[in-house]
Structure formats: C-alpha cells, structure tokens
C-alpha cells in the first residue's frame, strides 16, 4: 500500500503550481507556527493547513498527519507537564520521582505544552500537505541548476525510500510465512537483510542512472521555466502571510506568556490576525 504522504498527481491548483509558489505558501504557514506561540494563532494556522490540504484533495495525508501530530502533541503536553514545575496553579502534586525529582503538574505547564504540541502539529500537517501535493521531481528539477549532483542524490534517495519500505513489508510477510521448524527471524537478521537488499537495489538504480547519462555529466542543465496560472495566487498569499507576520510581530500582536500565570492575547488585532491566517487556508480551492 502506498504511503499516505506519497505525492499524488492531481489537477488541483496547489499540485499544478510551480514548486517555488507552493513552497512559499506552505512555508509561510509553517513560519507563522514557528514565530507565534499564542494558541489562538496556532489553532488558526492549524485550521489553515488542514483546510489547504483538504481543498487540495490530500485527505489521506491530512488525516495521517493529524493522527501522528496529535499523538506527538499529547506526548509533548505530558512530558512538559511532568518536567516543568513552574507556574502558580498547581493541579496535582505527584511527589518525588526518580531522575525527575519533585513533580508538580501545573496548569501553566500544561498550556505551554499544548502550545508546543500545537506548533509541532501544524508543522507536521503542513509538511504532510507539501509531501502529498508538491511534485518532488519538479522541486528537484528546480534545484538542479544550483546543486545538480545533490538533487540527483536526493532523487535516488526519494526513489529508494518507498522501495525499501515495500521491501520491509515483504520481508515481514515472509517472516510470518516461515514454517515453525525454520529458524525464527529476529530483528537483527531482518535489518541486515533489508540493508543488503537496499544496497542491491541502490546498485540497480545507480546503474539505471548511469545509463540515463548521469555519470556522463551531460550538458548544462536548463532550469524549468514553465509556470502555472495559479502561481500568482500562492505567491500573493504566501508573501502576504509573511508580511502580515512581520507586521504582527512588530506591532506586538499575538502575545503569549505561560508563566507565572497564563496570559493569552485575545485582543481584536490578534483575533483579526488569526482570522486572516485561517482564511489563507482557502487559497488552494479550485
């Protein structure tokens, strides 16, 4: 079965946009998540990337990304609550723990963990949408004029990763099919076999690249100039998001402090900023 994050060619605006425009748009949303810790803004950014993915038809990628992201967010919240004892609102005193010492669970640490988890979740979903919607061949082609060999190495790796994943699945199946009288397959022999198989595959793929002319060096690689009619939309929204983010930072919009008590800015400017961020998720609509 294909990975939910694998690129699926579709005719949507985000898929047909040039890699630069798509990366600018999704990168701007990820930037917002990195710059702000305010949960309202992070939630709005999460809504935007989810909406963008759904409108682009990447439902599987969004769903899988959200599943992984929420699990990671929950872990971050739990770890932050156990490790950080700052904050005035103590919800539970869990006594002395080995290595951690005295553990007090505070509301502030929970909220800070939530903000960190939300940030990680937004970035993961944005990456899931990028992975499912932006053609890696076009990205690598755009990079070739500046880093030809690195781009081709990346091509090789990006091709071998799903092949290795498929190999691992087959090896697992074969291990289940072994008779009870055969030596069981432990993790180490399985890993060795997978590595050996991947090396064999890599040799085959490298031979194919040789035959396609890679080793010959070829002529001067020409950059792709083809664009899409949707490019301007994503460039405009991406650049607008970055400009808005800069302006919001300079104006002190979207403040957030977890300690000593939680303070989440929810003034009209912050709400308006969050609303605009959420609306940017509509950019990929057909």
């Amino acid at each position: 079965m294909r990975s939910p994050f694998a690129y699926v060619p579709r005719r949507g605006p985000l898929q047909s946009a040039s890699p630069g425009a798509a990366v600018l748009y999704l990168g701007a949303l990820a930037t917002v998540a990195f710059v702000f810790s305010n949960p309202l803004i992070l939630l709005a950014t999460g809504v935007a990337v989810t909406c963008a993915g759904l409108l682009a038809g990447a439902r599987r990628a969004v769903r899988a990304g959200l599943r992984m992201a929420l699990a990671l967010a929950a872990l971050i919240v739990a770890v932050n609550a156990l490790i950080v004892s700052r904050g005035e609102t103590v919800l539970a005193r869990l006594g002395d723990w080995p290595l951690l010492g005295r553990v007090d669970v505070t509301a502030e640490a929970l909220v800070e963990g939530l903000a960190l988890g939300l940030r990680a979740a937004v970035v993961m979903v944005a990456f899931a949408v990028y992975s499912a919607c932006v053609d890696p061949d076009r990205v690598l082609r755009a990079l070739r004029p500046v880093a030809g060999r690195s781009a081709l190495t990346a091509s090789l790796v990006s091709r071998l990763v799903p092949v290795a994943a498929a190999d691992a699945g087959r090896l697992r199946d074969a291990a289940r099919l072994r008779g009870p009288g055969a030596a069981p397959v432990g993790r180490a022999p399985m890993a060795r076999r997978l590595l050996a198989g991947s090396l064999d595959r890599a040799v085959d793929v490298a031979a194919t690249l040789e035959l396609r002319g890679y080793g010959h060096g070829g002529g001067r690689l020409r950059p792709e100039r083809r664009g899409s009619r949707h490019d301007s939309r994503f460039r405009l929204v991406g650049a607008g998001l970055l400009a808005l983010t800069l302006a919001a930072v300079l104006a002190g919009v979207g403040g957030f402090d977890a300690y000593p008590t939680v303070e989440i800015a929810s003034d009209p400017a912050t709400l308006a900023f969050a609303g605009l961020i959420a609306l940017s998720g509509l950019a990929p609509r057909p």
């Binding site: 079965m1 294909r2 694998a6 690129y7 699926v8 060619p9 439902r59 599987r60 769903r63 053609d135 890696p136 061949d137 082609r141 070739r144 091509s155 090789l156 990006s158 091709r159 799903p162 092949v163 087959r170 090896l171 199946d173 074969a174 289940r176 099919l177 072994r178 008779g179 009870p180 009288g181 055969a182 030596a183 397959v185 022999p189 399985m190 060795r192 076999r193 198989g197 085959d204 793929v205 490298a206 031979a207 194919t208 690249l209 040789e210 035959l211 396609r212 002319g213 890679y214 080793g215 010959h216 060096g217 070829g218 002529g219 001067r220 690689l221 020409r222 792709e224 100039r225 083809r226």
Partner: protein, 570 residues
Amino acid sequence: MTAGPSPPRARSDLPGTDDLAHTPALRVESLTYRYPGAAVPALREVALEIAAGELVLLAGRSACGKTTLLRAACGLVPHFHGGELEGRIEVAGVDAIEAGPGALGAHVGHVAQDPETQVVSTTVAAELELPLELQGARPASRARAVEEVALALAIPHLLERAVDTLSGGELQRVALAAALVTRPGLVLLDEPTSQLDPVAGDELIWLLRRLNEEWGVTVLLAEHRLERCLAAADRVVAMDSGAIAFDGAPRAFLDWAGRSDPALETPAARMFSLAGLAPLPVGVRDARTQLGRVASGEGGRGPTVDRPQAPLARRQDPPALTPRHPPAATLGDLWVELGDGEEAREVIKGADLEIGAGERVALMGRNGAGKSTLLRLLAGLVESVKGRSTVPRGIALLSQNPGDFLVRERVGDELPGDEGMAALRVVGLEHTVDADPRDLSGGERQRLALAIALAGRMDGEQLPGLVALDEPTRGMDRACKDDLSELIDRLASRGAAVLVATHDVEFAASFAERVVLLGAGTVVADAPAPEVLSGGWYFATEVARVLDLAGVITPEQGAEVLGAGGGEGA
C-alpha cells in the same frame, strides 16, 4: 528484413549518414569477461555482429551469460560492475569500453528484468524527461520527445501518474519508453516479459517489432519464453556457458535446439518434431500454414496427416471435475478490499472456490486480477471484508520473491535440526546444508524458500493441506521449470493440494490438472487444465493455438493427435 528509416539525429558525434548504413549496431570481438572474484568467466571469446535494423533474440539457459552480454553492450560491464575484460565492443561505431555507459546512453537503451529498479523519478513524465534533461536538451525538444515516445508506446494516459501506482506491465512500458526517449539506435532488453501476463507480454513483443519496423530500432532481446518472440525475430543467438553456441535464422535455431539443447525448443516445434514433421515452425501462424499444406498434400516432409478435425478433439475431452474431500481450501462469496479512503478498491469480488486434497491447480489471470491477493488471503496476510475462507490443514505460501525468505548466510542456519533437514529432503536440497543461499541457483533458491515455508509442518509424513506458490517461474529456464513440476507432483502425491499463481501457460499445462482463471477479482473459468488452456486466445498454450482443438495443450498430446505417436522422447 529491411530496416526502416532511422530517425533524424542531431548529435555531431554520430557517424555520417553514409557510414551509418554500413556501421553495425553492435560489434563484439573476442570478448572474454570475468566478474570480480568469479572463478570462471561469464563470457568466453564472444564474437557477434548485429546489423542496424535487426531484431535479434538472445536465447540460452539460466546463467549462460545473456545478461552479462547485454551489460557489456551498454557499457555497464566493465565500467559499473568491474572485473577483467578482454576483447572489443563497439556500439554504432563507438568503443563501448572506452566510452562507458553514460556516453553510450545516446546510442543504446537498456531495459532490465525488474522494472521496479529502473525508474528513478516520481511521475512518468519526469521519468521520461530525465535522460533528455541530463543530456542538456532544451525544454521544448524534451516536451516533444516525451510526447512522441509516449504515443509510440501507447502510454500518454500514464504521463501524469505516479510510478508507484503503475502495474508491472505499465512500469515495463515506462522503462522501455525511458530507454527509447533519446532515440537510441540499439535497444537491449533482458527478459522484459518475465513479470507480465500473456496479454501484456505479447503486446510488448509486438510493440518491439513495430518499433523495429517503423523506427528502424535495432533490438537485442534476451528471453526464456521463446515461443512468445521467435516469430518476431530476424535472427537467434544462443549462448551456452558464456560462449555463443548458435547464431542463425529462427528456423535453423529450432533444428539446432532439437539436436543440441531440447530445453530451448518451443512447444510447437517440439510437437512437430515428435510428429516427425518438418520444417519446424517458428510460430503459431507458421505452424498452421504448414499443417494446412501437409493436409492438402502441397509439401513438407514426414508423415502425411489430415488436418485434425472435431472428432479427434472429442477424443481428448477432459473428464469433468469431481470434488475431492476433504477440501484443502474453501472460499465462499469472498470479498477483499485493499487500500483505504479514496484509494480503496475491491480486489476480490465474491469469489467461490474449493480445492481438494492432492489437487494441482494453476491460478491464472492478467496482472492485477487478484491472484496474489487470493493467496495472501488464504495465508492470513490480508483480511476479507465479506465471506469466508477456510484452510483446514494449514497452508505454506511461497511468495513471489524467494529471496525474502533467505536472511542468513548458511542454509543450515535457516533450517536447523531434524525438522529443517526433513524439509530440505522434501525439496531435494539436503546436500546444500553448508552452502550460502546466495551461491545457489535461482531454482535452488526457490526450493530452499519453499523448504523454509514447509519446515516443521510435516507431522510424520503429513504436509500442510495446501502449498501455494506465487509466480514461481519468473526468470526460470525450462529445465528449472521441469524440476519444479516434479516437486509439485511429489508434494501432491503426498496429499498436499498445490495452488500455483502463474502467468506461464506452458508451465501450467505441464503441472496442473485444473485451472482457475481470475478476471478482475472474480472466477471467470474453473475447469480441467486441458479445457481452460485450449479454449482462449491468450490463456492458451502454443500447441492449443496451433491446433485449436479442445483439450490438446501439450506437445505430446499434439503429436499424438497429428498421428505420429507422442511417445518418443525428446
């Protein structure tokens, strides 16, 4: 044959037009090659010249040197694989040893056996564009070349698809397109049909013939299933132990094979040979024409025979299937869905099937028909969404890649103790206990993997109720297939039902008593093998296509029908 006009070329390093007509597409002189660390050479004093516009079939048993010769012709040997090489190879007048594979890329295209490792991009369009891009072609000429090669190979509808969503047949066509997109004069193909169903395999061979006739592409094609491509070839080169054993016309090759290496005979030629008819036919059409002539007394030597008519056919009618009890496997209204969300698709749709103890059953159908899924379901690797499946006395499944079962460096470590030795004895490999699995031949590795699947499942002499093999003959020559047939007979005689998913109609005819034909997840035919394998166009043996008689599918049966007695040995 006469070569068609070569496509115009812009490369300045090509010989001039006048020279081109006289320059061989491939010239090999006294080529001897040894892989690094190998005890014996893979190629020995090979001398060969292939003229531009020829379609040459490279025949020979497994490990006879076919793949190595193709690698040498595209520069991978010795540049990529290393080793010691003596002699000379020229491709379109270019010294291949000096130039290397990258520089030869403009002159020669190479398609290997496994299409999975021949694609390096994410989408088909990008895959086709890559070689041109690496040669520095302009975007406009790249776009045109991609469009033209896609049209030539009938794959324009695949251009926007991701390569990991393609079937084996589609992927093989894409690999061929990527090899042809730079318009090389010579294309080398290493068993390109080994993973294809009969329909896709035949289409690929005729596509090569069309490229050869219309574009003037020189083709060097290595194949085991000679009956598929002999009729399309201008010439056959047979190899044995790294040397060229025969080089001549297809009909002369059949005469040579009959005398020197019967494992290379095609089924129709073997039928003619057993029936004492000559000359041996190079394909179905040739065989039918000759039988027509013989029947009308126009020519040919050997016994005069009448064209067999329906009464003879009725004599061959197979007996009706009678269920054997207890059943080794039962499927009832079975539905299987793979994938989820938007990509979910029904692979098995309401299949009903019962396989009796000791039955030898071939499971056939085109690529993607659901054969592997059915076997995986029986083995518990996938679940059904509706219906029931039972395998009362257990199943041993050998999946498509036997190498997946081999994870250690000594056979005895894979199969320790008495149970391991018992399993090795069942497959006849007890003498290999100290060998490294990687040193075994392809057929031996297949049997070792089967022993691993069977190990410990033999209470006394009792095997699992069902032994299932998924595409076990890929890349095997006929001698290996005969060994596998014998093994299947042994397993069945010990009470195990044997279910083999295969595209190989000739192999199915050799071992199966019953054939189940799947079409898009449903059972479209389930009858004795002679009935199924003689009743269609694609899923029919070569003998059945020649004689078109119900129930006559093997050369021996065909020879008997032709009236010369089928009892003679090969």
